[in-house]
Amino acid sequence: MTLIGTANLNSGSTTGSTGLTITGIPQTYKDLLIIASLRGQRGGTQDGVGFALNENSSTYSYIGVHFNGGITNQNTNYESFWAGAMQVTENTASAYNNHEIYIPNYTNSFNKSYIQNSIANSAINAGASQISMTCNVYTTNTNAVTSFRLQSATANGLTQYSSVFVYGIN
C-alpha cells in the first residue's frame, strides 16, 4: 500500500462546491483506499459528503445503512453523489468526521462501484451524529479513475484542516 496523493485545507477553508481534489492518480495499482477527515461550513446540524469521481458529480446511485440512534435509510439517487455525513458549524468545535472509501478495480472499464464508511460524531447534537455505510455506483462512466473531489454535498464548503489521503493498493 502506497500513499499516492494528499490534499488539505491547512491554509484556509473553501466555499461552494470547491473541496479537496486529487488529480493524476497513477494507473498502476489495483484498488484505491481513501481516508479523509472532513468538516463542512453549512449551518444547521449536518451536511453530506459529496464524492465526485473524475470530478463528475452526476449519475450516481447508492443505498446506505445509516445509524444515528435509530436506524435510518436513504434511497437511491439522494443528493446523487452523497457519500456519508460530516460535522458542520453547529457541532462540537474541532470535530471532523472519519471517512473511508474503498474502490476496487479503479482502472477497469466497468461502471465504478465502491464502498464508503463514515462516522460523524457530535457531542452537542445527537441528531448530527451518524454512522454510515453505503454502496455507491457511478452508473454511466466506465473510464478509469484518474481524479476525485471530496466536497460539501450541498455546496456549502469545507472548513480549514479538512484533509484527504489516497493510497494505492496492489
Binding site: 500500500m1 446511485s61 447508492y62 443505498i63 445503512v65 436513504q74 476496487p104 466497468f110 464502498i115
Partner: protein
C-alpha cells in the same frame, strides 16, 4: 497504516467459472482482507467463502449476521450454522448490471486459540447495502480460502483478491 500485500488475485474470463481456491496462504501477517468485486450470472444466487478443508455443503461451522438496508427499511438477517460465509443472508443479492464490492476483513487468521471472525461490507446500489459479521467455528489457522458461486457462474471481469495486512 498497515501494509497491504497482495497474496493472490484471480480475474474471471469466459462464462464457466464457478469456484476458485487461494491455497498456501502465507502465515506472516496479522489479518487478511478478501476483496470480491463480482457479479453472478444469476441474480438470485450468491457467492460464499469457506476455509481450509471445511468445504462440504454439509458443514454447519459458518455463520453470518447482517444489518441490511434496502433503501426503505432496515432489518437484521442471519445465516447461522451453515456451510459458508455469505454477503447477504437471504434469498440472493439482487439485480445488478455492474460488479458489486464485498470486502471481508478477517482478524487473527492464524491464531490457533480462537475461532475465526470477520467483519465485512457488501453493497448492491440497486438493491441493498449490508454490514456483516461472520464466524467460522474452527481454531485452525486459515491456509486456504475457497470462493464458490452457488449457481450460475461469475461474469467475465469479476475479480477476487487476498491481501495480507501487517502492522506498520
Amino acid at each position: 497504516m498497515p501494509t497491504y500485500d497482495n497474496l493472490g488475485t484471480v480475474t474471471v474470463s469466459g462464462s464457466s467459472t464457478t469456484t476458485h481456491t487461494f491455497s498456501g496462504i502465507s502465515q506472516s501477517y496479522t489479518d487478511l482482507v478478501v476483496v470480491c468485486h463480482f457479479r453472478p450470472s444469476e441474480n438470485t444466487s450468491q457467492t460464499y467463502i469457506q476455509f481450509n478443508s471445511d468445504t462440504s455443503t454439509s458443514s454447519t461451522n459458518y455463520s453470518t449476521i447482517s444489518l441490511t438496508s434496502n433503501g426503505s427499511s432496515s432489518v437484521a438477517k442471519q445465516h447461522r450454522n451453515i456451510y459458508g460465509w455469505y454477503p447477504s443472508p437471504g434469498p440472493g443479492i439482487g439485480t445488478a448490471t455492474y460488479l458489486m464490492p464485498w470486502v471481508v476483513h478477517i482478524n487473527n487468521y492464524k491464531n490457533t486459540n480462537l475461532n475465526k471472525n470477520a467483519v465485512s461490507r457488501f453493497g448492491n446500489a440497486s438493491s441493498f447495502s449490508n454490514i456483516l459479521t461472520h464466524s467460522w467455528r474452527s481454531t485452525a489457522a486459515i491456509t486456504s480460502i475457497k470462493l464458490t458461486q452457488e449457481s450460475g457462474y461469475w461474469i467475465a471481469g469479476t475479480t477476487f483478491t487476498i491481501y495480507g495486512l501487517k502492522a506498520s
